[in-house]
Every structure is written in structure tokens, then in C-alpha cells.
């Protein structure tokens, strides 16, 4: 058992560490590219070590201060409970997005090992104690109990230590449960794509909630001020009262109750809280066992195929492009639209902004949403610009996300210029769809205004994309990264340098285009003339950008070998 456990802890750490490192370096530029992309993980590791030391010191000092009475118990415990609650959320998030979950072959390999399924489950749950978040927290929590003991509160220290162990058991079983569930969801391609889409939409929506509630609360306070009610400050007791009753079973709350009862010398309440934590851990263990059984029972990736008559590929060309470039453009548009990231570009950008404007425009102090609510054409243009920005994982890694499809293109009689043009037009086709949706969403939320300005705004968004296009080809060829556009984590991102550059270029392009739009609107004061100016602006940008795309395609020739290796996921 111990030998197996040790092997599994090692396996988890290696999978995590290896997900941060690349393969064999190929050339000097690739070496630089790798070094640059390693900067972030190194920074994260350095910060993580600092955080670990900080948590240990904080835990010990907090325990000692509570024991000595130098820290107020209500405030300290409120902060501790809040921190632990946030950590639970982070743990769930980490378990969902962890690169460890990505390997589809992992369970097939594990099932071949001479270990019973029940033992395999037990070992995997125990091994999740080595997950980074739990490994960070454990020393801090235990040092909190040590701090209490050193401060002379041995009774409280014992309950704090027991509660810490039970809390860690809850975290480990929770992490395992979520991890197994996500791995099971990822077993099936369609299921995993839906999961990724719902996860991103859900997380984005949840992200609005704190802002929404804060604004609602601020609006209520303003209303109270207007009606002459006296201004009151918020106390710990107010916060405690505001915490909903159902949170009593949340592990962080149970931990807080055990510590508070220990400090009060109330062994019965402390015991009940620890027992509550232990029960939760056992329940989660049982649930995780069921999920684990489902997971290992579905080692074959069973995908449901599309029903109905087989659709034949229809031969279409894009006007203005050669046949080969058209084929590349249509393949790019199809593969992009069928990926999770591509669908997010289309369905999230404009509609999401429109929903935000709909929700927030009633709050007086968020000026931007009120303005967007008044000027629908600006909302539509902003939504389209957001689509261009959110397409960054695709535009800045035009070749890396095709994987083996890129090999097919490199083997095909397509010139590098046609390849680049086709890629740019293909992404542009999907962006046109995203812009149409953005326009429709804005019309629903904030209708009205001159048609000329609505159209001019969309032409502006397209200009921004064209401003980015040459750099997109150039940086995609220089810094290709084998990526998966169906993954929500870093596995779907472009190279850090390419991503950063795109943000700068988009900011400049957006500022220039918005400036032209503003000047045209203010100077002419006629929507029709603004539309004419923006059409001219788009033509000028296209006349400069398209030859630059062709010029940038020379980089593909220089980096062809590297691209071929990236296509193999190397």
C-alpha cells in the first residue's frame, strides 16, 4: 500500500511538472521561445515557495496571537474561514483545469497495473493530498495548531489539529471527486466539448455575480442615503448575520466552529464540528468511489457519431482567393468553428457584452454600461472588437492548433502565401459570424440610432482584425505552440510573447480605429459620411495589411521544419 501510494504521489507530481516543460529544443529561436515560455512557470514556482513559507509563518503567528489574546477571536476566525472557503473554490477550479486530467490513456494504463480497483481508488484519493493547493495549506493549518499549543492553549490546539486533519481529508476527497468527475467527462469527445463550453460560460457568468451584488448593495446604500437614513459602519457581527444559514455545513465553517469551541473550552461542540468534517470526508470518499467506478468502467472512448445521412463535402471557393487559399480558408473556418475556443469567440463576445449592459445599465455609477446602453452601435462595435480580442488563441497561433492538419497543408501544393492568406480569411469568416451575432444582440438590448453608424462600427472592428493580421502570421510562424482549442486551460493558449504582442497591437489598432470613427462622427456629423470614412479606412488598412500578410508568409518558409515538428505535437 505504502509503495503504491508513494508511486502515485510521484506520478501526480511528475505529470504536473512535465506539463510545464517542453520537449527537445530544435533551433536557436525555438530555444529562446522555450525560455520565454518558461518564465511564467518559474515565476509561479518562486511565488508558490514564498506563499508556502508565508502560510507557515502566518499559521503559527495567528495561532500564537489567538492563544495570547493579542488577536481578536471573531475577526481572526472570520478571516481564516473566508480564506479557507476561497481555497476550497480554488481547489475545485484547479481540479477542473488541472493538466493531469488531460491524459485519456492514463486510466487504461492504471487498470493494467496489478492493483485492485478499490485499492486504486483509495490510493488515488490519498495521493491527492499531494496536490499543490493541499500541500501548501497543510503545513500552515498544522502550524496554526502548533501556535495555539505554544501560546499555552493545549486544549484548543488539540481540537485545531484534529479539525485541520479532518479538513485536509475533506479537501483531498473533494479534489479526487472533482478530478474523477472531470476525467470521466473528458472520456467522450462531445461530452468533453460541452463540458468545456459550459465551464467557461459558467465561470464567466459567476465572475459577474460579485460585481452585480456589490453594485446592488451600493445602489441600496445610495437609496438609503437619499431617504435620509443614518449611515452605519459594517461590523463582524453584521457580516456573521449576513452569512446564509446553509453555509453551516461548509467545511471552512465547520473548521472555524471547532477552533472557536476549542478556545472556549467547549469540547462537545468542537467534537461535533470535527465529526461533521469527518462525515463529509467519508461521504465524499463514497461519492468519489462511485465516480471512479464509472470512470474506469469507461476506458474505451465511446463517441456518438452524427446520425443521419452522410454529408458530402461541398466544393466552395471564397471570392478573391485562389482555389488553394480558399480550401485553406474554409478548412480553417470549419475547424475553428467546431472547436470550443472558436465557439466561445462566436457565441460569447457580443452576446455576453450585451447581457452585461442589460444587467448593469441601471446602476448609476457604472457609466460605461449606461453609455453602451444608450448607443447600441457602440455596443455592437465593442462586442465585435471583443470577438477579435477573444480569437487571440487562434489568430496568434494559426499553425499550432491544426496539429496533424498542418502536416496535411504542408504536404499539399499550397504556396506559403496562399497558406497565410487562407488562414487569415478563414479566421475572418468566423469573426464575421461573431460580428453578426454581436450586431443582433446589440439591436435587441439597445435598438435605435442611425443604420450608417451601426455598419461603420462593424467596419471598424474588421479593420482592427486586419491591423493584427500580418503580425498574426509572422508571430504564429515564429512562435508556434502545439495547442488544443478544445481545452480551457493553458493547453489552448498561444505562445506568451505572441499573446502579449497581440494585446498591444490590438490596443493600438483599436485606439486608431476608434479615433477615426470619433473624428468622422464629430467632424461630419452625418452617419452616411461616417460610414464612407470607415469604408475608406477599412480599404486603406486592407491595402496595407494584405501585402504585409504575403510578406510575413516568408517566415513560414523559414520556419517550415519547425512548424512540421509542432504539427506532430513536439
Amino acid at each position: 500500500m505504502i509503495r503504491n501510494l508513494r508511486a502515485f504521489v510521484w506520478l501526480r507530481w511528475r505529470l504536473l511538472a512535465n506539463s510545464l516543460r517542453g520537449g527537445r529544443k530544435r533551433d536557436r529561436l525555438e530555444e529562446i521561445s522555450r525560455v520565454l515560455s518558461m518564465a511564467l512557470p518559474i515565476l509561479l514556482v518562486a511565488m508558490a515557495f514564498g506563499s508556502l513559507v508565508g502560510l507557515v509563518i502566518l499559521g503559527f503567528a495567528g495561532g500564537r496571537a489567538l492563544a495570547a489574546g493579542t488577536a481578536p477571536v471573531p475577526v481572526t476566525l472570520l478571516v481564516l474561514r473566508g480564506g479557507l472557503f476561497v481555497l476550497i473554490l480554488l481547489l475545485v477550479g484547479f481540479s477542473v483545469t488541472s493538466p493531469v486530467q488531460g491524459s485519456l490513456t492514463r486510466y487504461t494504463r492504471l487498470l493494467l497495473l496489478p492493483i485492485s480497483r478499490r485499492m486504486l481508488h483509495g490510493i488515488e484519493v490519498a495521493a491527492s493530498l499531494a496536490d499543490p493547493w493541499i500541500a501548501f495549506l497543510a503545513p500552515g493549518l498544522l502550524m496554526f495548531a502548533v501556535g495555539l499549543a505554544v501560546g499555552g492553549r493545549s486544549f484548543a490546539a488539540v481540537w485545531a489539529a484534529l479539525a485541520a486533519l479532518a479538513f485536509l481529508a475533506v479537501l483531498a476527497t473533494l479534489a479526487a471527486c472533482v478530478g474523477f468527475l472531470v476525467a470521466w467527462l473528458l472520456r467522450d469527445r462531445r461530452r468533453s466539448e460541452w463540458f468545456a463550453l459550459i465551464f467557461v460560460v459558467g465561470m464567466s457568468s459567476i465572475g459577474f455575480l460579485p460585481m452585480y451584488f456589490a453594485e446592488q448593495s451600493a445602489a441600496e446604500r445610495r437609496e438609503a442615503r437619499r431617504s435620509g437614513a443614518p449611515r452605519s459602519s459594517t461590523s463582524v457581527a453584521d457580516i456573521e448575520r449576513a452569512i446564509p444559514a446553509w453555509t453551516v455545513a461548509v467545511p471552512s465553517e465547520l473548521f472555524g466552529r471547532a477552533v472557536r469551541a476549542g478556545l472556549n473550552g467547549d469540547g462537545r461542540t468542537a467534537g461535533l464540528a470535527v465529526a461533521g468534517l469527518a462525515t463529509e470526508a467519508m461521504l465524499l470518499f463514497a461519492v468519489s468511489s462511485t465516480v471512479h467506478a464509472r470512470l474506469i468502467g469507461s476506458t474505451t472512448v465511446n463517441t456518438r457519431r452524427r446520425q443521419g445521412a452522410a454529408r458530402r463535402g461541398t466544393v466552395r471557393t471564397v471570392p478573391g482567393l485562389s482555389v488553394a487559399a480558399s480550401a485553406v480558408a474554409l478548412a480553417q473556418a470549419r475547424t475553428m468553428f467546431r472547436s470550443v475556443r472558436g465557439r466561445l469567440v462566436v457565441f460569447m463576445s457580443g452576446p455576453l457584452l450585451a447581457v452585461m449592459v442589460f444587467l448593469f445599465r441601471r446602476f448609476e455609477d457604472i457609466d460605461i454600461f449606461q453609455r453602451l446602453g444608450e448607443y447600441g452601435y457602440v455596443l455592437a462595435a465593442a462586442g465585435s472588437a471583443m470577438a477579435v480580442l477573444s480569437a487571440q488563441p487562434i489568430t496568434m497561433n494559426l499553425f499550432g492548433s491544426d496539429r496533424a492538419g498542418l502536416t496535411l497543408q504542408l504536404l499539399s501544393p499550397v504556396s506559403d502565401a496562399d497558406l497565410a492568406r487562407g488562414k487569415i480569411v478563414g479566421v475572418g469568416l468566423v469573426l464575421l459570424l461573431a460580428m453578426a451575432l454581436s450586431l443582433a444582440a446589440a439591436v435587441v438590448v439597445a435598438p435605435g440610432g442611425p443604420v450608417g453608424l451601426w455598419l461603420a462600427g462593424q467596419l471598424g472592428a474588421m479593420s482592427v482584425y486586419l491591423i493584427l493580421a500580418p503580425a498574426a502570421v509572422w508571430l504564429s510562424a515564429l512562435f508556434p505552440v502545439a495547442s488544443d482549442l478544445n481545452r480551457t486551460g493553458s493547453a489552448g493558449n498561444p505562445h506568451g510573447l505572441a499573446g502579449l504582442s497581440s494585446v498591444v497591437i490590438l490596443a493600438v489598432g483599436l485606439a486608431m480605429t476608434a479615433g477615426v470613427f470619433w473624428l468622422a462622427t464629430s467632424y461630419f456629423g452625418q452617419p452616411g459620411l461616417t460610414l464612407a470614412v470607415m469604408t475608406l479606412w477599412l480599404c486603406v488598412i486592407a491595402a496595407i495589411a494584405l501585402p504585409l500578410v504575403t510578406f510575413a508568409s516568408r517566415t513560414i518558409t523559414l520556419r517550415r521544419e519547425n512548424l512540421a515538428l509542432v504539427a506532430q505535437g513536439k
Binding site: R189, R311, A331, R338, T407, V414, E561
Partner: protein
């Protein structure tokens, strides 16, 4: 030296180096047009690297080579118009359907809509993929992926086919059909350059072989000539093992397996 027969592939001193690793060490290949050429070698010998160099996926470190009398460095697109490739990783878009994959390949090779439709339908039927033509390649089994990759390589009717392990993972029925198809293709003047670890298939299909080991070409020529070089009646497997110096006597005993 002028070759007696026109060559589909000709290399001189082809060399590919990755850092300290010499993957291909100056090989001289001569693949006659209309031949069924088996390129053999143990794992890691340099077969796939050679194919990648010949198909333009890798740039040779040094050496010269010509494909169908054309210079692939000077006119890469021209060479690709006349060559079909089924590479190691199959080179497929996961997010295109089988039919869309063929449409893409047909379009970039400049096939008109009518020919593309007819050829696609025939190839899909031959590969038993008609019903699955609308499914995404991501949902295909390994064998189906192989078949659609082979169909994509055949679609433009190339004069030279590079096939990297074409029979691995393909069922017996499809395997028979593909063997017949490739034999017909060669009889019609096409050239096949294939790698395979299944020596029985190579022995049945190929009339020329080249053997590579540790990046060096250790033997090349008509299979009958190579066979005649040693004891009569030797199988290709025996010839191959002798050429790479891996006779049965070299197998370690692993006595602990019998414990």
C-alpha cells in the same frame, strides 16, 4: 553516372542532423519509376526522417535529391502536385469530416468539382467509409483514420506515393483491397515508396527494397537480386535480419524469465 531506368526518387549524400543526433547519414537512394519500393529498417533507423526529408517536411542538412526529375527545393509546390503522402501522423484535421478532408485535398490539388465528387465517392466506397463520410475524423477509429489518409493521398492521382506504415491497424478485408489497389497503381506506371514492419507484406508486394540502419543505407536493389546474394530460398525476414546484424543468436537469454 546515367541511370539505366528513369528514377522516381534519387538522393545523393542525403543527410539530416538534429543537434548531436545524426538521423540520416548521407544516403544514396535510387528508386526506379514504376517500382514498388519497400524501405525497411529497425525502429529509430531513420526511415520516417528520410520520408520527411523527401516530402519537404524536413530540410536535409546536406545532400542532393530529386523527385520525379524535379528539384523539391526549387519547386516544392510543383513536386507536391505530383506526389501523394500518407505520413506517420496521418496528417488529418480532427475537426473536418472524412468527406471534407477529401474536398480540401482535391481543392488544393486543383481538381474540378465533378472529378472531385466522383473520385471521393469511389475512394470512400473502396475504403468502406461511405456511411462515415459525414463524421468528424476525431470520431474515427485508428483504422478508419488510416483509410481516409490513404484516400487523401490517392485522390489527386499522384505519380509517386509515399506511405509510412500503411497496413498497420487496417482490417484484413481493407488490407486486401488496398494491396490490390496499390498493385494496380504500380502496374499502371505509378511508384510506391513504403515503409512497413510487416515483412511478409513487403515481400509479397515490393519488387525493390532499401534497408536503413542507424541512418545508413546498408542495402538497396531489386528484392530478387538481394535474395540471390545469399543462400537460396531465404525469406525477406532472414535477409533483413542478416543485413542489420540482428540474427537470432544475438537475442539475450533473459534466464530469469524461466524462473
Amino acid at each position: 553516372m546515367e541511370p539505366a531506368v528513369p528514377l522516381a526518387i534519387e538522393t545523393r549524400g542525403l543527410r539530416k542532423v538534429f543537434g548531436d543526433l545524426v538521423a540520416v547519414s548521407g544516403i544514396d537512394l535510387a528508386v526506379p519509376r514504376g517500382s514498388f519500393y519497400g524501405f525497411l529498417g529497425p525502429n529509430g533507423a531513420g526511415k520516417s526522417t528520410t520520408i520527411k526529408c523527401l516530402t519537404g517536411l524536413l530540410t536535409p542538412t546536406s545532400g542532393e535529391f530529386r523527385i520525379l526529375d524535379m528539384d523539391p527545393i526549387a519547386d516544392p509546390v510543383g513536386v507536391k502536385r505530383r506526389v501523394g503522402v500518407m505520413p506517420e501522423d496521418l496528417a488529418l484535421f480532427d475537426r473536418l469530416s472524412g468527406a471534407e478532408t477529401l474536398t480540401f485535398v482535391g481543392q488544393v490539388h486543383g481538381l474540378d468539382a465533378g472529378r472531385l465528387r466522383d473520385r471521393s465517392a469511389e475512394l470512400l466506397a473502396l475504403m468502406d467509409l461511405t456511411k462515415a463520410a459525414g463524421d468528424l475524423v476525431a470520431d474515427y477509429s485508428h483504422g478508419m483514420r488510416k483509410k481516409i489518409a490513404l484516400a487523401a493521398a490517392l485522390l489527386p492521382a499522384p505519380r509517386l506515393l509515399f506511405l509510412d506504415e500503411p497496413f498497420e491497424g487496417i482490417d484484413a478485408v481493407a488490407s486486401r483491397q488496398i494491396k490490390n489497389l496499390l498493385t494496380q497503381y504500380v502496374n499502371g506506371g505509378g511508384t510506391v515508396f513504403l515503409t512497413s514492419h510487416i515483412l511478409e507484406i513487403v515481400e509479397r508486394l515490393c519488387n525493390h527494397i532499401g534497408v536503413i540502419q542507424q541512418g545508413r543505407l546498408v542495402a538497396e536493389g531489386p528484392i530478387d537480386v538481394l535474395r540471390a546474394g545469399g543462400a537460396a530460398g531465404r525469406s525477406l525476414e532472414e535477409i533483413f535480419l542478416t543485413l542489420i546484424g540482428a540474427d537470432e543468436g544475438d537475442t539475450p537469454a533473459l534466464g530469469w524469465l524461466a524462473e
